[in-house]
């Protein structure tokens, strides 16, 4: 059952509109920059596809072009932040925080300066560009860094709110965005707080918790609906903040259900699911299944084809739910 306190879209299981999370970021950045003139945007030759174009139009003098130079993007960003600006550094996730990982580690995280790392085109949903462009390691890379906040929004509206939220924190942050449209199931009234997971679906007598982030949250919702139709109750968590993780909510849904399936567009080794397992191993161990990419690279194809191939579609989540309940 959809949780009414979440104020989700009334079209949630109907004819729902889609928008990419990068759009929500683009709008959020303009909004944040109007409120705080320390905000600047830096980009590495991807102005249109990261949607930083909208900021550039509004604030041309606060926009900095790097060219194809992601290591410089991170380190110049570090300098800007150290001086007193709040730089949003933007590229594709494979290049930033991929290519420039050590620069981020030392000059942003260890330096502890408020650089906001925006990694777009993450996950398999990049589609036809193929494996080189489908970041499947970035959540892991970023959540291993002390000081770093890591957020994976589920739809464009949540990405907008996340952008506004990270603009206000003092430390470094990583915001993971997607290229393809995701169903816009949250609304401006849906609550969003860094470090506070959203329970968006809860059946009576839930037997499995589906904990998801990003593109996979909506798939998890559809899976919850299918499970319900098969007489199996569940809880769905939009676990947008990977770090700091909402241990309280994660532990409580695991307690209630006694079984967990995590769903993410990432390698299962080291991603959001691993982070959930690290929490539950300590607080409340339960059987778990991990939906994600299992030690393989991505490839060219349409997002839906890839989700089916890598067993990340709704059907696979339903099956994983049944499987994990059987292991209780």
């Amino acid at each position: 059952m959809i949780k009414s306190d979440q104020k989700l879209s009334p079209d949630i299981f109907g004819d729902i509109k889609k928008a990419p999370t990068r759009d929500g970021f683009g709008h959020g950045l303009v909004e944040a920059a109007k409120a705080d003139e320390r905000i600047v945007a830096v980009c590495a030759d991807l102005v249109e596809s990261t949607r930083v174009e909208w900021f550039k139009k509004e604030f041309p003098t606060r926009f900095i072009e790097m060219g194809v130079a992601e290591q410089n993007l991170a380190t110049v960003g570090s300098g800007l932040a150290n001086y007193g600006k709040i730089p949003f550094i933007t590229s594709y996730a494979t290049f930033s925080p991929g290519r420039n990982n050590e620069q981020i580690r030392t000059t942003i995280a260890l330096n502890n300066v408020p650089v906001k790392i925006i990694g777009s085109h993450a996950g398999l949903s990049v589609g036809p560009d193929g494996a080189t462009h489908q970041a499947l390691e970035d959540i892991g890379l970023m959540r291993m860094l002390p000081h770093m906040t890591v957020i994976v929004p589920a739809d464009a509206e949540e990405a907008r709110k996340a952008t506004l939220a990270i603009a206000k924190t003092d430390g470094p942050s990583y915001l993971r965005l997607g290229r393809s449209g995701t169903p816009s199931f949250t609304t401006p009234e849906t609550p969003f707080e860094i470090g506070k997971a959203n329970v968006i679906w809860e059946s009576e007598n839930p037997q499995v918790a589906l904990i998801a982030c990003g593109y996979m949250v909506y798939n998890a919702l559809l899976a919850a609906k299918e499970l319900q139709e098969a007489g199996i109750g569940s809880i769905v968590v939009d676990n947008h903040t990977i770090k700091p993780m909402d241990e309280k909510t994660i532990t409580s849904v695991a307690q209630k259900c006694g079984a967990v399936v995590t769903c993410e567009e990432h390698q299962v080794a080291g991603g959001m699911g691993s982070a959930v397992a690290e929490v539950l191993a300590r607080t409340n161990p339960v059987p778990m299944e991990f939906i994600g990419v299992h030690d393989q690279f991505g490839q060219s194809g349409e997002p839906e084809e890839l989700f089916a191939h890598y067993k990340m579609d709704v059907k696979s989540i339903v099956e994983a739910g049944k499987r994990v309940i059987g292991r209780k």
């Binding site: 991807l46 060219g67 991929g98 036809p128 080189t132 490839q299 060219s300 194809g301 890839l306």
Partner: protein
Amino acid sequence: MALTDDVIKELELKANDIRISLIDMLEDAGSGHTAGPLGMADIFTLFYFHILNHDPKDPAWAERDRLILSNGHITPIRYATMAHAGYFPLEELKTLRKFGSRLQGHPERERLPGLENTSGPLGSGLSQAAGMAYGARMDGKKFRTYCFMSDGEQQAGNVWEGAMFAGNNKLSNLTAVIDRNNIQIDGMTENVMPVEPLADKWRAFNWHVIEVDGHNMRAVDDAVNEAKAIFEKPTLIIAHTIPGKGIKEIEFDYTWHGKPPTKEEETKFLKELRTLKGKIEASHND
């Protein structure tokens, strides 16, 4: 094979056929890059049909020349040229960027025999080529290593780390070619992040530098031969090219960096390329 006028005519006609395949496959794919690949069609044709010592039927031949593509997004032109050279059937070009295809959106070495390296993320090809050339020299191998790069890529630090390494080690068995088409995603290179003076930069890194018109087959071939005669340095050929070359509507327009033609555009562009055949024939008949 001497590069006679007749041979050049055949190569130019071949390049035109390859451009036709390219437009066809990009429209089928529904995504991908158009301007860069069209601009490099002449050079790819010249390399695969005249310069490279290779065997399409034996892509793993140990003594083959190595061609490293650093700017992986222009891989459609490599795929099209390889298909025309006999590496795989022309029909397979239709699978570009589709699920299950060997022709991935960006090239992957392990999927398609004949691709020497995986690329897409810019800036890392030259160092890989330098590593190959260095290893080959250690073993006294005679083959040559070529690396194709783009101009936007010159903004990436890794390129200069590779340039310094190759210059320092006098890797004369390595020849790099820059597609100097003056465009990248956010606009003209000199507006986004100037790379000039490009030749001086490379000379300062101890490279032998030659600048040519990248659509003049003889000039490019001469430059490659000159590189073979230079024993103390690696050689860089700055190939001045026209992005979108062959299709007036695309030429010089950076907005064609990363989009494919629509169905209507495809029809129009293919017609334009077919009329070019007659012009190529005529230009060699007087």
